[in-house]
Amino acid sequence: VIEALRAGSGGALDLPTGTVYPALHRLERAGLIGSAWHTVNGRRRRAYQLTPAGCTALHEQRAVWDQFSAAVTALLNRPARPAST
């Protein structure tokens, strides 16, 4: 998750790894993701995956974000007006 955040944002989102776990736990408590221990190459690892409710929430939140960022971008791209006195 951390690597995906780091690589996907071009290094802009470089969070301390330890801070991501509480966020994952909260999402799991909300039923948006599920997790289970798996054994990979002899080592136990906890894998997380989106639940159907999580997929729905992701689509909804992505649409909200797209709308928000488009609005802010449009606002910032407006030509500057001279200040009136």
Partner: protein, 221 residues
């Protein structure tokens, strides 16, 4: 790279995180196991990038953040887990205590009718408030937070403390009424008094723990 190759660094780091985690043991163990897994993975990735083992351990620990900060990040989730754990305990054990009082007051509840049986419970308002608080807190800290406003850790702890306090008060009222009623001691009454006494003792310990827990939660957030 396996966890066996780097026993000192991550182990010391996790011990420092563990010393600051407060909450249900099973949940704390899960957190530590997950952090260990993440650290081992991070160290292996560092070695894969060409770092020495010592360098990879140091880089992994730096990536994770300060132990106190990592533990503080879990404070909210641990506090909510503590509150939910406590409330589930009351919701499950409540009927086990209540049924003895009910049978003690109405030995044949099926004959008396539902309204009479319910009206015979002297601490009914307390029970209603406790059940409403418990179910409300459980609902607003679990999966229903997708639709309901989410309760903060502080509110969750306060809700569970209120339920514990109501349980203590309700049990003491019931015991007091029974003792002062002057009625002869009957097996059902004795069992009810014993069940309530056990719950008073447990609830007092829970209350003490929750007060400390609440303070720690507030200071960690």
């Amino acid at each position: 790279m396996s966890g066996r190759a780097d026993p000192a660094g991550p182990t010391r780091y996790l011990a420092r995180v563990a010393s600051s985690l407060r909450g249900p043991r099973q949940y704390r163990d899960r957190i530590l196991a997950e952090l260990r897994d993440g650290l081992d993975q991070s160290v292996a990735a560092g070695i894969g990038r060409g770092l020495s083992e010592e360098g990879a351990v140091a880089a992994a620990i730096e990536d994770f953040g300060q132990p106190d900060a990592v533990a503080a990040g879990f404070a909210t989730e641990l506090a909510i887990a503590t509150a939910r754990h406590t409330l589930f305990w009351y919701l499950l054990t409540g009927p086990l205590v209540g049924v003895w009082w009910l049978l003690s007051l109405q030995p044949y509840p099926w004959r008396a009718g539902l309204v009479v049986v319910i009206a015979a419970i002297p601490v009914l308002p307390l029970i209603v408030v406790a059940i409403a608080t418990a179910t409300g807190t459980v609902a607003t800290t679990g999966r229903l937070i997708r639709w309901l406003p989410e309760a903060s850790a502080r509110h969750a702890i306060a809700g569970s403390a209120l339920v514990a306090a109501l349980a203590v008060f309700g049990d003491l009222v019931m015991i007091g009424q029974y003792v002062h009623s002057g009625s002869p001691a009957r097996p059902l009454g004795v069992i009810a008094v014993a069940a309530s006494t056990i719950r008073v003792v447990c609830s007092s310990a829970v209350l003490l723990h929750l007060v400390v827990r609440g303070r720690l939660t507030v200071s960690a957030m």
